[in-house]
């Protein structure tokens, strides 16, 4: 079976020594020695505060760090070996670490974590990003309590973000998932999230694991599995999201990990998303969204230029993907200058849906289809920036809501395209 290959003998021995746990904290790392110490301290403080009696273990899945990340993790173990008495720790809180072969891949680290969770019979798991330097001890409780003491299967985070962070999520992934699956999950590509052992085992068994190097986006697949499979989903407000150094700033890679995964999953989940009509908000602990209004300098000219260049240079490619009316509209707005430029929400929704349908029909290599969306997204991002430049926090979110409504409204259009009409 596939699991065996991600668990080497030494790791199995470590798991044997940990034994059954109630809670498992997953910490996927790669060269995070600078930040991981602080994160572990916050995790331990959170556990000792919210779950002092539960059997817990911290599992570090390392993608081949060149610095001492795994050593820092293992040294943080709370046990009787260190002879420093922690008056607040009722029981041993082991920190174990394993390294998987190949280069960093969130698929492999998640696979390892799920396999370990299965073997340790964890009732609830939480994944914490080692870069979450803004982490508070309360995060652990917020992510685990709904799963462990409630009956939630998956807990997605809600962050306080600067308003122009996560535009790809706000403009594509969030509206799509919301329209397709009827769930308002604000952070569908989370760095920190919680899930039940039961759901983890199901996902472990159902997902086809490739375990190749450099595979990312599996967190999104988990979210999709949760929404598409009628699991109980919850959200919880955490706090300020730390900027990730390792999450790709490269837009193409980001697009692949999000839109690529999303479109691919639509194939399998066709019965689910065509059957969903209502949109519900999962129960949320705390505010549903918070935005800080820090100013951000973005080179708008460049965005416009790349959008226009994309529309013109990629015309032959876009011809195969988009419908003629849509392509014509895009060419028209590409000619607009400066302040006049606007990529309206309706057009954007249509664009994305047509991409989805073309992806389904494999009009060309699917990866190429995903790449072709990138310049168009830049145009949309520009419009988002301009629209929200002086907006208040509520207005920003209202604009996102409006975009989502467009996606929901045009869903029948997607279904029609999907089924063959053009």
């Amino acid at each position: 079976m596939a699991e065996e290959s991600v668990l080497n003998d030494d790791f199995i021995r470590q798991l044997m020594n940990v034994g059954e746990v109630d809670l498992l904290v997953g910490l996927p790392t790669h060269n995070n020695a600078e930040t991981v110490g602080r994160v572990i301290q916050a995790i331990q403080a959170g556990i000792l505060k919210c779950f002092p009696r539960e059997r817990t273990a911290i599992l570090n899945v390392d993608g081949g760090s060149k610095d001492e990340t795994p050593d820092v993790v293992m040294a943080a173990s709370i046990n009787d070996l260190r002879r420093t008495h922690n008056a607040y720790a009722l029981r041993t809180l082991p920190s174990i670490s394993t390294r998987y072969a190949g280069s960093p891949s969130s698929e492999t680290s998640l696979h390892t974590l799920l396999a370990a969770s299965d073997l340790l019979r964890a009732k609830a798991c939480v994944v914490i990003s080692p870069e979450s330097i803004n982490i508070e001890p309360e995060w652990v409780g917020s992510l685990l309590l709904p799963v462990y003491r409630g009956n939630v299967d998956f807990v997605a985070p809600v962050y306080r973000r600067t308003r122009f962070e996560g535009m790809l999520v706000s403009n594509v992934v969030y509206p799509m998932i919301r329209a397709l699956y009827g769930q308002k999950i604000r952070e569908p590509y989370p760095a920190d999230f919680g899930f039940s052992g039961r759901f983890g085992n199901e996902f472990l068994a159902q997902h086809s694991w490739h375990n190749e190097s450099g595979q990312f986006g599996t967190e999104l697949e988990m979210v999709l599995s949760a929404v598409g499979g009628n699991r109980r989903i919850g959200q919880t407000f955490l706090g300020l999201k730390s900027r990730s150094e390792q999450h790709p700033a490269d837009l193409v890679a980001a697009m692949r990990q999000t839109v690529g995964v999303l479109l691919a999953s639509m194939e399998v989940k066709f019965p689910d998303w065509t059957a969903t009509h209502d949109v519900t908000a999962p129960p949320t602990n705390g505010p549903e969204y918070e935005v800080t209004l820090e100013p951000v300098r973005v080179n708008k000219k460049r965005l416009k230029q790349m959008f226009a260049a994309g529309v013109s240079e990629l015309a032959p490619v876009l011809q195969s993907i988009l419908t003629p009316p849509t392509l014509k509209s895009l060419k028209q707005i590409a000619d607009l200058d400066g302040e006049a430029f606007r990529y309206p929400a309706e057009l954007w929704a249509k664009t994305v849906y047509e991409f989805a349908a073309s992806h389904h029909k494999s009009v060309m290599s699917r990866d190429h289809i995903v790449q072709a969306l990138v310049p168009l997204y830049r145009g949309r991002a520009l419009t988002f920036l301009v629209e929200n430049r002086t907006a208040s926090a509520e207005q920003v979110e209202a604009n996102v809501e409006a975009l989502c409504h467009e996606f929901e409204r045009l869903k029948p259009y997607l279904v029609e395209l999907w089924n063959g009409g053009k």
């Binding site: 034994g19 009787d80 720790a89 009722l90 041993t92």
Partner: protein, 546 residues
């Protein structure tokens, strides 16, 4: 009785704690007595114990189960008289069983003639024998020990119109140890019993002997001076007799009570006991290893007294708040089981009458460094009665048989000092010595066996201890060594089977021989030694070099 040449007798002894009142009634009045106790010495001999510790049997109004003494040099009439005591001591010594008696130094009953005199007037010669005060403001901040019963350490005496100091119940006024007469009088009391033939004293409530303003009134240097003095006299006039301290303190605060080998011979290791129960529930050895890591070295001639339960509540004074809450929720969910800062339940009910857990706890008791003390009735797995007031629930009559009054007394059941246990699980018909003696596999037979194995080697009593810290934290493993004898003890604290790899490289080449069955186990090599243990199972291995 001659002391062993190589090491003091108390270091290799197994002590049995018993209350005369609860053991056996010879005269049919419903209350156990010394004659009865003497009749049961053969039972104790068979069990394999080396010493008996008797709880207070002095005359007393019995408002604190005999710890409120009204006459130090006599016997409560319900239990017999001094003659009976003498005969009992003789019989015990004939069977090589030593006898330790309780000595309550800190306070007397308010019915004691000394107090009656002391309170009668401010000019009474015995006035200064107790601690009096015009106001109740002195020694502010001193903690109250019997929290459920007392609101203050001062009590108002209407007769002499002043306050007297009492660390325990208000009917137990504290003696004033700043008064040399008091000290001399108490030594005389001890001499009385030593002359009669007792082999040692358990000194009750020693930390509280002396009070000083601005302190916690516990463990003061003056207290230690008093003890040193007592010990000097004891060694001088009665060598080989034992002083055992009852001081419920953190290990670091207990250490001074051993002095430089010139104070107590033994002291109870109070903090370890609740942690053993905690480790069992947590299925994690951390509480045990950490408290033993914090336990200081003691002089070579001294010894810790280890116990699982006793006549008092399972005390949770020496644990953190988190730990206390955990213990309450794990072992005493019913609030009726809680008293003061502890749990008033016996061993078997605490462990859900689980034979494996009872064996495991006793296994640790017998193999950790110290002298084990068995509370009467725990060797057959007796139960408790939480509905009886105070801590009387763990002091019910010994269950000898399934017959009349459980074989304890010929009296009417209604006239027993407290009722027998009757329920189908722990009642005397289910749990009694007679039926357990008939089976090789009963708890009683098992207890006899383990005591036998423990006695087969001096390592447990006097050897060193070296903890192994296997990565599997559910397993508590340690090595006891004395000269060239080495014993490996492995305990599985978990309710499920465990595999553990032990680093025994230091003992490479030796052959482990399991001490109960005497079977060989694979020889120790250079790679980690793998052992698998069933739920709550433990192993004792003699590591033989052949």
């Amino acid at each position: 009785m001659p002391a062993r040449q190589d090491s003091p007798w108390y270091k290799s002894a197994v002590i049995y704690q018993v209350h005369v009142r609860a053991f056996y009634d010879s005269n049919g009045d419903g209350i156990g007595d010394f004659q009865g106790l003497a009749q049961k010495l053969d039972y104790l001999k068979d069990l394999g114990v080396d010493a008996i510790w008797l709880m207070p049997f002095f005359p007393s109004p019995l408002r604190d189960d005999g710890y409120d003494i009204s006459d130090y040099t006599s016997v409560h009439p319900s239990y017999g008289n001094l003659e009976d005591v003498k005969k009992f001591l003789t019989a015990a010594h004939e069977r090589q069983i030593r006898v330790i008696v309780e000595m309550v130094l800190n306070h007397t009953s308010d019915q004691h003639p000394w107090f009656q005199e002391s309170r009668s007037s401010q000019d009474n010669p015995r006035r200064d024998w107790y601690v009096w005060s015009e106001t109740d403001n002195r020694y502010k901040g001193t903690r109250i020990i019997f929290l459920d019963a007392e609101m203050s350490n001062w009590a108002w005496d209407p007769i002499s119109k002043s306050y007297y100091w009492h660390r325990f119940f208000s009917h137990q006024p504290d003696l004033n140890y700043d008064n040399p007469t008091v000290r001399e009088q108490m030594w005389n009391v001890m001499r009385f019993w030593l002359d009669l033939g007792v082999d040692g004293f358990r000194l009750d409530a020693v930390p509280y002997l002396v009070e000083r303003e601005g302190t916690s009134c516990e463990n003061l240097p003056e207290t230690h001076d008093i003890i040193k003095d007592l010990r000097k006299k004891l060694d001088r006039d009665y060598p080989g007799r034992l002083l055992l301290a009852e001081a419920n303190q953190w290990p670091a605060d207990l250490r001074p009570y051993f002095g430089d080998g010139d104070e107590f011979h033994m002291a109870f290791h109070f903090p370890l006991m609740p942690r053993m129960f905690m480790a069992l529930k947590l299925e994690d050895r951390k509480p045990i290893t950490e408290i033993l890591q914090q336990t200081p070295e003691i002089p070579a001639s001294c010894q810790w007294a280890l116990f699982l339960r006793n006549h008092d509540e399972l005390t949770l004074e020496m644990v953190t708040d988190i730990e206390r809450d955990y213990m309450y929720d794990s072992y005493a969910l019913d609030k009726a089981m809680r008293i003061n800062l502890g749990i008033r339940r016996r061993l078997a009910p605490l462990l859900d009458n689980d034979r494996r857990r009872i064996e495991l706890m006793n296994g640790m008791l017998m193999s950790l460094p110290g002298t084990p003390i068995i509370y009467y009735g725990d060797e057959i797995g007796m139960g408790d009665n939480v509905k009886l007031g105070d801590r009387n629930g763990v002091r019910t009559p010994m269950q000898w048989s399934g017959g009349w009054n459980g074989g304890f007394s010929a009296a009417d059941p209604e006239s027993l000092y407290v009722p027998l246990l009757l329920n189908p699980v722990y009642g005397f018909q289910a749990v009694n010595v007679l039926s357990q003696k008939r089976s090789e596999h009963s708890l009683l037979s098992w207890m006899q066996r383990i005591i036998q194995v423990r006695r087969s080697t001096p390592v447990f009593g006097t050897g060193s201890i070296d903890f192994l810290y296997p990565a599997n934290y559910r397993v508590l493993a340690y090595v006891r060594e004395l000269r060239n004898e080495t014993i490996l003890v492995v305990n599985n604290l978990s309710s499920s089977a465990q595999a553990v790899e032990l680093d025994l490289s230091k003992y490479k080449g030796r052959i482990p021989i399991e001490m109960f069955g005497k079977n060989l186990f694979p020889r120790i090599g250079s790679s980690p030694y793998l052992l698998t243990l069933g739920p709550y199972q433990f192993f004792w291995f003699r590591l033989r070099r052949i």
